[in-house]
């Protein structure tokens, strides 16, 4: 497939494939956006490089997907924006079903902190070196990750506590 890249994005893609030739897997376009898939162990270096060299100072979004039944089940997607160049780039990382683990990028973009917590809460992807690694939506002692495809839509009955229907005697 021929890529239709703007001059700035072309520089970014060329720079990535030169600097990180071992970790660079593929680049493709879909619905007008450009996606780059890279190896998981290089993600911090690549993010640092994109921020410092190509001015992707704004991490617009960071989210997980569950490619249930596929090889490398989980995917973490970084939606990067360069405000100066008005460019958007999606960075994708695939992770195995067993012990999905990734390095945190919260040092690079502060906003990644909450988003990584959300990915952990919903999909069970662990982020190493995260400054405050806890669940963000579900209770601390909750055992499941609700956005995983095998999780029942209505949840597991009794897994979250409802209030007692006999009044407290405080």
């Amino acid at each position: 497939m021929d890529l239709e890249l703007s001059d700035t994005l072309k520089k970014v893609i060329d720079g990535l494939s030169d600097q990180f030739s071992d970790s660079f897997i593929e680049v493709y376009q879909s619905t007008g956006d450009t996606f780059v898939r890279v190896e998981a162990d290089a993600v911090v270096d690549i993010c640092k490089y994109l921020k410092s060299t190509h001015h992707f100072i704004y991490l617009n979004d960071l989210f997980g997907t569950d490619r249930f039944t596929s090889e490398e089940r989980f995917e973490v997607v970084y939606n990067l924006i360069s405000l100066r160049d008005r460019e958007r780039l999606f960075l994708k990382v695939r992770l195995p079903e067993e012990d999905p683990r990734l390095e945190s990028v919260a040092d690079i973009w502060k906003s990644a902190s909450w988003m990584e917590r959300e990915v952990y809460d919903m999909f069970g992807v662990h982020f190493d070196n995260h400054p405050d690694f806890r669940r963000i939506f579900m209770p601390e002692d909750y055992e499941y990750h609700p956005m995983r495809k095998e999780f029942p839509l209505l949840g597991i009955p009794g897994s979250i506590e409802l209030p007692s229907t006999t009044p407290d005697t405080e």
Partner: protein, 160 residues
């Protein structure tokens, strides 16, 4: 003194139940539990157009200590359920509860792990209002149903 002065000489008889029920049913002060879109309709219910004041229920207390009717307006998630139940427990008896709208009644369109599928899972609900969101007049109807319920209650003592 008191009532005799306006009625003149004479007397009337009634039951204490009838008197307290009359008083209670015409002063059912809501505890607004506005959680989502239904809360906007609930505001209209108290506002001048629909005017819950006609039924003595315009006094939104925002304090459990002085309210009689809790209106659960909106979807209830598991975290909020504990706060709602605590406020309900702080309301003095006798008290009533309206589940306003599809979400508070059954979970509505939020058929998911985070939302309680109906606030009757942890509250004793007296009136359910259908709709998403229901119109303010539907909430008035629920209020009138509760007034009917109060009026037929044996609140003081049972006849034996």
């Amino acid at each position: 003194m008191g009532i005799e002065s306006s009625l003149g000489d004479g007397y009337f008889t009634t039951k204490v139940d009838a008197l307290t029920n009359w008083a209670r049913s015409n002063a059912a002060w809501p505890m607004p539990m506005g959680l989502a879109c239904c809360a906007i309709e609930m505001m209209a219910f108290a506002g001048p157009k629909y005017d819950a004041a006609r039924f003595g229920s315009e006094v939104m207390r925002f304090s459990p200590r002085q309210s009689d009717v809790m209106i659960v307006a909106g979807w209830v998630n598991y975290k909020m359920a504990h706060a709602i139940r605590r406020i309900w427990d702080q309301m003095p008896d006798p008290k009533w509860c309206i589940a306003m709208g599809a979400c508070a009644s059954t979970g509505g369109m939020h058929r998911c792990y985070g939302v309680v599928q109906g606030c009757d899972n942890f509250l004793p609900v007296d009136a359910y209002v259908s709709g998403c969101p229901p119109r303010p007049d539907a909430l008035l109807h629920a209020l009138m149903k509760i007034q009917d319920k109060i009026r037929t209650e044996h609140s003081v003592m049972l006849d034996t």
